[in-house]
Amino acid sequence: MNNALMRLMQKNRWSWSAAGVIVLWIILSIVTGRWSIASLSGILVSASFLTLAGLGQMIVVSTGRGNIDLSIASVITLSAYVALLVIKGQDALIWLGLLATLGIGLGVGLCNAMLVIILRVPAIIATLATGYILATAALIANSSLNGSAISPTLRWIASGRVGGVPIMVMIAISTVILAALLLHFTAYGRKLSAVGQNRVAARLAGVRVNRVLIGAFLTSSCLAAFNGLLLGAYVGGAFLEMGQPYLLQSVAAVVIGGTLIFGGSSTALGTFFASILLILVVTIMQIMGLPRGVQDMVQGVVVIVILGFAAGGELRRSRGRVSAKSLPNRI
């Protein structure tokens, strides 16, 4: 019986983070002494932003070879600035803002993909470097920004509710569903998994590996860009550090959610629950009055512990004879 449950949980890796959410939610209720749907919806909204960034990160991680998108944080910040600059608080200019956001997403994603594919720069270095360049762009945007009026429609989307449910949560959930469908029921999802598991085999099976990679980096950057647009509308402005938390948290959400860090297997639902889990952890720490430094520390420890003591073992089991060591690019 117990074994059956364990097997089920091993097969559906998202269930671990879902269970974690429930446990933490109970702890939070006990700590605060009340069950509150209102506080949950606040957490869910924060988690929604993280989910969007996390889903993009998940797809990049799925491409294998230790690929990670470290430019997500800078994309979020930059697109928040650019959206503010372009839209100027006017609903009439939203289309321009959307276009600019899409432009940032496509541009950065394409740039990252080209660095990885044509110049053969490892993804981690390529995205780290583009992140620096984007950070400079954000600095420049910061100096030319005067006033931070948010267009009413965008503000409504980012912080409004329909029937008591935050619109952001709906956006996040539908993106999760779309991502899950993409991963499990489309050719792209299969190709992505194939590339992540064994890039040479994927190429020989006829998969256009480079196209899959481009798709992954584009998705990641576009999701991050729209995330930045919405986040700016939600917090009512833009500031230089606003993307920073998403650097570690997007990776953490992917890893904790049960996506294999070496690629090939990903779970959108897991990333969603892990995002909630992470926000819950942060919220609990805030309620307990822990300073920011300690919060950072705990998040770092959580990532290392989960990776070191749960995800690693699982990886070895499922990979069987193909050990992590035989992967050529183990950085």
Partner: protein
Amino acid sequence: MSKQDLADPRNVVAGPVSPIISLQGISKSYGPTQANVDIDLDVRPGEVIGLVGGNGAGKSTLMKILCGVIEPTGGVIAASDLHAERYNAAAAQAQGVRMVHQELSLCTNLTVAENFFVEVPGAARLHPAWRGVFRQRATAALDAVFPDHRLNVDARMARLSIGERQMVEIARAVATPGVRLIILDEPTSSLNADKSKQLRAFIHRKTAEGMAFIFISHKLSEIVDIATSVSVLRNGRLVWRGDVEETTVGHLIGLMGGSDATQARSTRMRSGQGKVAIRVGGRWVAGAQTEIELRQGQIVGLAGLEGSGQRELLHGIFSGDKDVSLTSETSFVAGDRQKEGIFPLWSVLGNVSIGRVARRRSFSSVLDTVEAEAAQGPAKALRLDSDRLTSGITELSGGNQQKALVARALANDAPIILLDDPTRGVDIATKQDFYRLAGEIADAGRTLVWYTTEDAELMAADRVLVFAGGQIVADLEGDEISEASILQFSFADTGRTENKSDNRQDGRLASLAAMAMPYVSLAVVLGLMFNANPMTATAFGLELLLMPAVVLALVAIAQMFIIGGSEIDLGVGAFAGLVSVLSATLLATDPAMGVLAIGAAIVAYASLGGLIQLREIPAIVVTLGASFIWLGIGFSIQPTPGGSAPSWLSATIGWKVPGVPTPIVLLAGIAAVAYAIDRTPLGVVLRGFGNNAAAMALSGWSPVRYALLRYLLAAFFAASAGLLLTAINTASDINSGNSYTLLSVAAVVMGGCALLGGIISPLGVVVGAITLSLIGALLGMLNIASDLNAATQGILLLAILAFRNFANRRSEEAE
């Protein structure tokens, strides 16, 4: 135990000498596949055992068991003085068993002499003349086996040809102190006639002294020439063992299953009147003929000595070689299933259906039910049980995995199927299935291009293209196909010598340019600076400008050691920031506590390295997580910049050598220390791990211990950087270290280190660090906004990487 062994009648026949090692009833199975079944093998001093058998007969499994690399599922390994509880790699080495692998187990980034050193883990002591010892040992060993070898023992392995590497590998094995049994796996495959003659002469000399050899070779005449006894494996069983006098080449072929040839022979020939499917021309075709046309409905075999261009053509057909034209799509069946074939996380169905899915548009739907339906046909054709479609691919035997890969190729209806040695490691029954299936596929009108390493299999082909020296030298059809004719053409002299000397020159130039890059860029930056502001050329100017470079140099050296192990540390800057905070707060107010705290931080950092190695998790994510821990601790101790530098710490940079700016002295010192560490045995071992961790572990080095040491080393340099930050700023800020992470990677890459690990260059890294930190100052002088600093650094890093990769590609192509 040696006494009881004599009771065995076979031992009495072989002589009264007790065996070096004795395998008794050894079996090994991988799931349903039996690689070895009940094998007895004694190895006695002075013996040369020729071990023969077809591909997949179980030779390599047996040898791995003998070397203690894998554990048998049944049987006993005994030796006269075996004390170890378990027979593992270390116990095998203690017994004096050494194997010379077919896939070379050398570290290509180390010199010949250094490779001799890493073979003996016990010798890792710091001795001033340790290099001389191993240089001498290497020279002596090479001289002993291959007189007049003319190899430079200080040359990096990467610079040697495959044959020369093989020579080093052999010499290294025989030179190991205490070695009694050497296993040579296809040792002569990359040696020329002269060298393999020397090797055989050496074996004769050594056996006279009592050393034993196991000689594995496909060249049976060599076996008959050199062995004293021969053991024949077939399908994992020892089918024959006897003195070499009792056998002949023909006899051995028969024992190995030479009758396969007739079984592979197809019952009827396909005429080859179909439409043209593939045209091969250009550089592939030798002689007067300009183009070879391959038609539909035929099996075309690619033959020749291994590495004569068959695989290149096969891959060329698949990926659109310029000298090959196709009329239709191709699908590929890989023979190296683990590396190029299977997707280990998927079921059999997933592995089959990817063949159909791969060519579809990204957003077209994929439903398992539909795919299962589509997979029924190919599965049935292959006699692959359709119930097994849902089980994991890794649960299948090698033969069935291979069937799944063929099913994948059939599933997408591509008219051309390329087979890359598909029966490698597959049992006889499956092979027979395979030949039958290939015939059926061809009868259905598809074109099969079949590369195989077993000449006998070519009898199943309707047409055979024979390769020599990278070109097709013969085009055999129908009755012209025989093993004899294939062999005859395989050894044909094409008169085409590999003309690579110009290329090599080119590659050397490119890698030279890459090596000179840090120095040239430093000169350029300095020139621009002196030009923009002559004041900078003074000692005082340099003093001011170069101090920040010292911090970067220290962080970069830390990063260099990590990257040398093919990992990247995203938390090294944050760690330096933390040490800076600790030194400006705790260390300043309570020295004992401060020292303790910094020590604890260093230990924590080093243990991360151990964790990464132990749990096989990616360093990037761990160090990214760790960077938040370092920052979090620093932020908790000191929320806002402040603190003060302990006076003694400030004094460390307050001194002066007359005439020379202090930072230059410090930089030179850092480079010297890092260089010295790199030259110690520890440094060599760390580089060895960066290049070929598996080989190092095989030689007996502990991966976890050296991961710990590597990170400990990095921690010391990063901590020094933190202390220096405090000394320079006379205060601390937890965020002051962050920018060094990216810059350190840039400095390391710029300095000439390989991101993949194994190649490090302390001097280059220090020079790179100076250049990078001067660029910031230069931009300031040129009145470029400091806002642009980050972007400049990012662009610079990418430019350096792009340049280096370009240079590397040039030199790779040349060699």
